[in-house]
Amino acid sequence: MRHSLAIALLLPAAISVRAAAQGTLSTQGFGYPPGQLSTRATSLGGGLGETDPLSPINPAAISDWVRSGLYVQYSPEYRSVESTGASDHTMTVRFPVMMGAVTAGNRVVIGLSTSTLVDRTWETSRAGYTYSGSDSARFEEDFTSSGAINDIRLGVAFAITPSLWIGAGGHIFSGDDRLKIQRISEDTTYTPFLQQSRLSYSGTGVSGGVTWRPTPGLTLGASGRVGGRIETFRNDTSLTHATVPSRWGVGASFAGVSGLLVAARADWVGWSSMGDLGRPGLGVTDAWDMGGGVEVSGPLFFGLTLPLRAGYRHRTLPFTVGTAKIVENSFTFGAGIPISGGRSRIDLGAERANRGSLNGISEKAWILSAGFMVRP
């Protein structure tokens, strides 16, 4: 599944399949938030998030689908973690956004999407010693977590006027986390240790938003989400509950100059409301996500004009290491390839993320992205 795009396209949900080792700065707590941004929006530093129909953030932005269609996104992450005298280079696969939309006349667009809210998939291998009395025995431990909390949204956008759209969305947050710890000792008097568990998540939320084009070329967007209750389950037993993080964001894009688009966005997520979902002491913080970028008409590619994109994004990741916040700064790049006269499009993007340094550990990543939008 993770290695076959063809199969991935058949998936009913944007399942975040794998992520990095937990021994990283970015995958603490309930995991890494990919951002719920399309490839195009990501390439613009997230600046287009509030007005982008392919980013399941603002339900009013669904209006820009114009025609019915489908969108699938594939985003592998190549992560490097440097520590004193050691380094990891991991490759993780994600399908963070999938979406479909249908139009109902000229004033209503309905969209169904699934996107990864947080991805908690990683694998940590390490060795150590078990001490028992005066004995010690070397062991090798493999700790894997595979799963995510996904945001499934049914959204409706309604045109009040041709330039003013409002939208509303109902959200279901679901997913699971398959956990496994395996420890094997070289001392044969020890039996291999294996523990497996599966946690499920279930939550709800509602969202609303607006997009407005006050003048040709300028689009403004604002949206918010109010989180409902989210619970964790093991089998049928409810373990913990908390509130799905609410979020608020505003953004603008300007395309008033031929061949140029500029976009910017600011987004706030109240991640701390998830604190009770984990064990006491879970480090979680509310976070800002801000960024922007430009898109310009580029060279011809097979006779088609390629839009080229670049951006910068600054955000705080929700889960802390102890009390230390992890900040991610990213430079983003990308291009789009219109197909079928612009009805369909393939977006390609790359993001260079620097997650800083903490306690001698630094983390950087390349996140590549390919988004496929088809509008027959």
């Binding site: 080792a21 990283t24 240790f193 064990r279 097979f302 006779g303 219109p338 590549l368």
Partner: protein
């Protein structure tokens, strides 16, 4: 335009598929332990005998007489202690008449021309009997008439018959101790028994100036001894061979008693208050555990469980050669409370799965030391099976039981010095929360 679009699509799709085809590589750990939470908590506990054992007893005469796969004919001294054993071969039913195909009545045998006891020698693992087993260049097998008017288990009445009435012998070179040996028997003795309708019970001993021990296959070993003779009834002649047997008209027979080893001279039973494994006749140790359910019947995982037993040096038949203290698993339900009955249902754990193998402790019984028996895999099995399906008991036995006179002496849970009592040292890992609920 459309063609160009689809060319572009194909090119980009190719790039995407290349990305999709890259091998995922998740394993990391460079940032451990700074970032990796120590999700597993390893704990140790030592369960004293009073906390871990429900009972520990010595089972004298276990395995039961006659159930041995190999029989021992021994006459030697070791470490200043003498061992002399005999082997009893029972031929409770023999052919006493010639029955032909006519309607004539059976013709009773009247005389025996030739007779022999055929025994099958166990070849030592070294490939041949050497001077450590047979100290002289020759060894003599002597056969006695050991028929006694006594019950099956009255071995004392049989024991006194050894050395009384010799009915055959054979001297063999040490190098020839292999395969099947035929020991000529007194034809007059056998003839009289056949004519008089008496059962034939033979006792076999070895004699050697400086000592010898020879192992012989039993019925249980799959190659029993046999009685071969040629006899006459008038002018008719019969040649027959029959295996050891306990068939008789007196009642149900105990088949295992068709052949068995009998101690004629040796060490007495182990002292009271000590756990003993091995020797001739052999004994075994039965241990039934009562491990706290919060450890074994919970989400906790026991990763190591070492049974520590204190061995009291036993200098009888002292030798530096090692013997193995072997652990067997009792495959009986909780309903079988009698240790002797439960021990009959013990098996080598490896017969269930190689993963349950318990390594034997190879040591000389004359040493005073602490033996450690790893039981973690057994505890895992007990947890899986549950306490009702499989009682939590083991049997400790000597690898030389019934063949080697040395015995392991282990301190029991009733030892005066608490430090010497058995202990179960457990390492366990409580269920991890995986860093989440």
């Amino acid at each position: 335009m459309l063609t160009r679009s689809w060319r572009a699509l194909a090119a980009v799709a190719g790039v995407a598929l290349v990305l999709a085809g890259c091998q995922e590589n998740l394993a990391g750990g460079a940032a451990c332990p700074a970032l990796c939470p120590d999700t597993l908590t390893v704990r140790d506990t030592v369960l004293l005998a009073s906390e871990a054992l429900e009972s520990d007893v010595t089972l004298l005469g276990s395995p039961a007489i006659g159930t041995e796969a190999q029989l021992l004919a021994a006459d030697y001294e070791q470490g200043g202690d003498r061992l002399r054993t005999g082997i009893v071969f029972r031929f409770d039913s023999v052919q006493r008449a010639i029955v032909d195909t006519t309607d004539d009545p059976p013709r009773p045998l009247t005389s025996v021309d030739t007779a022999s006891l055929r025994i099958n020698i166990v070849t030592p693992s070294s490939g041949a009997y050497d001077s450590t087993l047979v100290r002289d260049s020759v060894v003599t097998f002597v056969v006695y008439d050991v028929n006694a008017d006594a019950g099956d288990f009255d071995t004392a009445a049989v024991r006194v018959r050894f050395g009384v009435s010799e009915v055959g012998s054979l001297t063999v070179k040490r190098d020839s101790l292999t395969g099947t040996l035929s020991i000529p028997l007194d034809t007059a003795y056998l003839g009289a028994h056949i004519r008089d309708g008496e059962r034939v019970r033979l006792g076999l001993q070895v004699r050697s100036d400086n000592g010898a021990q020879v192992r012989i296959y039993s019925v249980e070993g799959g190659s029993p001894a046999s009685l071969q003779y040629t006899a006459r009834a008038d002018t008719a002649r019969l040649s027959t061979a029959l295996s050891v047997n306990t068939r008789s008209g007196a009642g149900p027979a105990i088949r295992s008693l068709a052949d068995y080893t009998l101690l004629l001279e040796g060490a007495g039973p182990p002292p009271a208050g000590i756990l003993a494994a091995g020797g001739i006749p052999s004994s075994r140790i039965f241990m039934r555990f009562d491990i706290p359910s919060e450890l074994i019947d919970s989400t906790t995982t026991i990763v190591r469980a070492n049974l520590e037993v204190h061995q009291q040096g036993n200098d009888l038949y002292s030798s530096e050669d090692t013997v193995a203290l072997v652990t067997r698993l009792v495959r009986a339900t909780k309903a079988i409370t009698d240790p002797a009955q439960a021990s009959v249902l013990s098996v080598d754990p490896i017969s269930i799965s190689t993963s349950f193998a318990v390594p034997a402790v190879r040591v000389s019984p004359s040493e005073t030391r602490v033996d450690t028996i790893p039981l973690a895999h057994i505890l895992l099995l007990w947890k899986t099976e549950g306490p009702e399906t499989m009682q939590r008991s083991i049997v400790l036995q000597s690898s030389g039981q019934g063949l080697d006179p040395r015995r392991f002496y282990l301190y029991s849970s009733a030892a005066t010095d608490e430090e010497l009592r058995p202990k179960l040292r457990i390492t366990y890992i409580p269920r991890s929360g995986f860093g989440l609920p």
